[in-house]
Symmetry: C2
Subunit: 171 residues, 2 copies
DNA sequence: TGGTTCAGTCTGATGACCAGACAATAATCG
DNA sequence: CGATTATTGTCTGGTCATCAGACTGAACCA
């Protein structure tokens, strides 16, 4: 989490999670990883983050074992590890909260549905159709309605169609 | 979230949640609110946060409708609103993740149990005994084992005994 | 009245983040 | 093969958040 001392004196699992996940941009980077964004340049364009900070966050995530850096045809590719995919319930819960209680402007309308059932997941990430609580690999995200001023980077464009989580995007 | 621009261009419910909840210290303040910490001085002592930052965070949380400031006998008291208590699934999921994958030192061993059933909640916050997913008011937290160097502020001391969430602490 | 607690505000120092320039390596094309 | 472009970073100077700790003002207590 940086800024000096972290949460050094907090003997608490939440503080331990936030020590890694709570830094600025980190959860949004993970969100993009779930969406299937894998390349430095795509993260950069989709997040509007500074290069230096993106580099630093990715290094931190790799060191923490949340993301794996793999060389693929010369250029690196970033993939979620088991610890990374295990952050899904946290991100999903936060997004749900943001939908109901976040600042009212910029409501996205994006939904998450169970692969196969096509039913929208509830507050706890459960499929109302079959009762299962699917992992991210079995979740499909559907975009909300288009709006003026939508982003035009390749990732944003690709995510205007329904997309199964963890499968590569764009292309 | 501050530091200049927020996540202004991210049309995304997660970004909207993090705009408020993602600032440094904010989720730990909310954790303490769930524990029942209600006074400025108790938050200050329990969190080791600077006075200026605590003041600013509380103001932000009040403005966002997540926490309510109520004058009680001259001194203010801070209580979770409906939007505040609705953050419980997010905090619980993060704490669960921190327990499994966070930095290995400072593992707390603290558990969360269903009031009445006394069964430990699972990854999704569900009670394995009765199948319900209790809200925070029906959750009891049990401390992990004591350790050398445990904090000695009143809140930390009080939380060494089992404690029902949202009930006042200390005393 | 004078001391104590509490809830903030204020200050100077440190460091994280920003935009944008620069560098190094890898793919592409004539 | 050599030149161009694409991609992944590193570096820099300025801005702003956070830090520790001193200070203020109001309420409560003896």
């Amino acid at each position: 989490m940086a800024l000096g001392i972290g949460y050094a004196d907090q003997t608490c699992n939440l503080a331990r999670a936030l020590e890694v996940l709570g830094e600025r941009w980190t959860m949004l980077i993970l969100r993009d990883c779930f969406y299937g964004v894998r390349r430095f340049s795509d993260l950069l364009a989709h997040l509007d983050i500074s290069r230096a900070v993106l580099t630093e966050r990715l290094n931190t995530l790799v060191e923490a074992g949340i993301v794996e850096r793999r060389a693929e045809g010369g250029h690196p590719v970033y993939l979620l590890t088991e610890a990374g995919t295990a952050t899904w319930p946290s991100l999903y819960a936060l997004a749900r909260w943001g939908e109901r209680f976040g600042p009212p402007e910029r409501r996205s309308g994006r939904t998450f549905r169970h692969w196969g059932c096509d039913a929208e997941l509830d507050d706890h990430g459960r499929c109302p159709e079959c009762g299962a609580t699917p992992g991210p690999a079995d979740v499909v995200t559907h975009p909300g309605p288009a709006r003026a001023g939508d982003r035009t980077d390749p990732v944003s464009v690709a995510l205007r169609s329904p997309h199964r989580l963890l499968t590569s995007v764009p292309a």
